[in-house]
């Protein structure tokens, strides 16, 4: 049994890497700049549009997603919802790519494995990466919340509840992506290779399922193994009802973590 204490110790060091080392801070500054621009010119601007002319245009365009966005109580979170459901997985492909890859190539994993089990290392690194991203997600959600409250303080209560709903759903989504990157990182020799493999695998598996589905429709169901498969369903949601499909990212996370855990145990260091 892998020690929970060691998993927490390893996860804590990963948080320290993200928030106190030069490389980690550089990544966070880049992340903050991108999200600063997105919030100011993307979310804020689009929210203004949804508030004013969006309804009229939305009724003319036959888009289920756009219509569901118009149903949100807070337009800022409606736009944030769409942007984060697509962008956080993309960030995850790079932020969570280097869970064990570089350390294996450098031999650091050999040192670490003398003091902790491979299972603890794998789960600790995953937990650290997930917690780092959840902190970043929390920060941008709080920034969005501040934007809403500054515009209309009366929306505070609704905004906080909406923010919590968005946080939980996006956190579940990135958990599945982070688990996938944990698995890929076990086989990759660098962060860049892990990201490249992830992109290739996602596209290749997606295309394969689509192609095979034309001949055997039952195969279409396999797309649920890919993280992010439930995003288009989430886009139709604007309430806690979205958790009805939370089992999808949860099962994906458990499945991918199990595969990665086994791979980590048997792979040579």
């Amino acid at each position: 049994m892998d020690s929970l204490k060691n998993i927490l110790l390893i996860a804590t060091l990963e948080l320290r890497r993200a928030f106190t080392t030069r490389r980690g801070i550089t990544v966070i500054v880049a992340f903050a700049l991108i999200w600063g621009l997105l919030l100011r010119y993307g979310v804020y601007g689009a929210a203004q549009w949804l508030q004013t002319g969006g309804n009229a245009i939305g009724s003319m365009i036959n888009s289920g997603t756009l219509r569901s966005l118009l149903n949100w109580d807070i337009p800022e979170f409606a736009v944030f919802w769409v942007v984060s459901l697509y962008l956080f997985p993309v960030f995850c492909l790079t932020l969570a790519a280097d869970q064990t890859a570089t350390d294996r190539t450098r031999g650091t994993l050999r040192l670490l494995s003398l003091h902790a089990t491979r299972g603890s290392i794998f789960l600790g690194r995953f937990a650290g990466m997930l917690l780092t991203q959840m902190w970043l997600l929390l920060l941008v959600i709080i920034a969005t919340l501040v934007m809403v409250v500054l515009r209309d303080p009366a929306l505070s209560a609704v905004a906080i509840e909406t923010a919590a709903m968005v946080f939980v759903n996006v956190a579940l989504l990135i958990a599945a992506y982070t688990a996938a990157m944990a698995l890929i990182s076990v086989f990759a020799s660098s962060a860049r290779q892990a990201t490249t493999w992830a992109v290739i695998l996602w596209i290749a598996i997606g295309l394969l399922i689509f192609w095979a589905g034309r001949y055997l429709p039952q195969i279409e169901a396999l797309r649920w193994i890919l993280p992010g498969a439930h995003i288009k369903h989430l886009l139709q949601q604007n309430s806690w009802q979205s958790l009805q499909i939370a089992f999808v990212p949860l099962l994906q996370t458990i499945g991918l973590l199990t595969a990665g855990y086994i791979a980590m145990k048997v792979r040579d260091l």
Partner: protein, 297 residues
């Protein structure tokens, strides 16, 4: 339980390359053990199997009765792996403390200071690995291997590529710490191994050639003399001395004298007297063959 390592029919193959073949080896706790053999002999493969980095292709390996790489095994062992590096993102102190915490050491900060002081590196606790020389990095990795007082310490080429002062620090440390842990040291520097180890495990082409105590090797009847560089001994004169069986100038400065020690036990004195008469001066004299001689000749 005194037995530390037990390998039964241990094999490791990489494709068609047989890195280790059918190795049966049992080693007990005690004085440092040398793991020797030429390049490709399987030394690093054996140490990697013991550390649990790689899985055997056949056979089994246990440490103190536990499967190599298992949680119970790693509680008692540590290692200085060849070509392993510390994380450049964190200071040495942060990483060693992290390792000590993972090992469950009660006072990790004190433990880090203790192991760094053993390798005379306590003043570098805030430095990053990239700021240190190769020799210093090796010493830090050696300190890492001593965290938590492991019972078995595996050192893979601990002195490779480092300067004599650092070699001496590492050698002295192994000698000093040998009382509290069993060291297994793999190295090409056989002179160094000879100074600290008492048992030799000899591998060649992936096969175990033998396990010998250095003192058990019959060293009688052999004299190794390291000559000064300007010395030019007359080998023919030496060969004519009573009791001398063979004279071999292995290198321009290394003279090996083999003699009949049972019938002519004073031959060593005679040889030295003859060299003095020839005006040949020497720097070092030792009885018996060097470890290198024993292993490779």
């Amino acid at each position: 339980m005194n037995q530390l390592i037990d390998c039964k029919a241990l094999s490791k193959h990489y494709g068609s390359t047989k890195a280790l073949q059918n190795v049966n080896l049992s080693l007990s706790a005690g004085a440092p053990i040398a793991l020797v053999g030429p390049n490709g002999a399987g030394k690093t493969t054996l140490l990697s199997l013991l550390c649990g980095y790689i899985k055997p292709s056949g056979g089994e390996v246990t440490l103190m009765g536990h499967r190599a790489g298992s949680q119970k095994a790693i509680q008692h062992i540590s290692a200085l792996p060849q070509d392993a590096s510390l994380d450049p993102a964190f200071s040495i102190g942060v990483q060693l403390k992290h390792y000590a915490q993972l090992r469950g050491v009660n006072q990790p900060a004190e433990e880090v200071r203790r192991v760094l002081s053993l390798v005379q590196m306590e003043d570098k606790i805030t430095a990053k690995a990239t700021e240190l020389s190769h020799g210093m990095r090796k010493r830090v990795l050696l300190a890492q291997s001593l965290i938590g007082n492991p019972r078995l310490v595996l050192l893979d080429e601990p002195t490779a590529g480092i300067d004599p002062p650092n070699v001496k620090i590492i050698r002295d440390l192994i000698s000093r710490e040998a009382a509290s842990a069993t060291f297994i040291v793999s190295s090409h520097n056989l002179d160094e191994l000879e100074k600290v180890c008492t048992t030799v495990v000899h591998l060649s082409a992936g096969e175990l050639r033998g396990v010998n105590a250095i003192d058990d090797v019959n060293n009688d009847g052999v004299l190794s003399i390291i000559l000064r560089s300007d010395a030019q001994p007359d080998e023919q004169r030496l060969k004519q001395l009573e009791g001398v069986r063979n004279i071999q100038l292995r290198t321009p400065t290394e003279l090996i004298v083999e003699y009949d020690h049972q019938r002519f036990p004073e031959t060593d004195i005679t040889v030295l007297r003859n060299l003095a008469e020839q005006g040949v001066r020497y720097r070092r004299l030792s009885k018996g063959r060097s470890l290198e001689e024993q292993v490779f000749n």
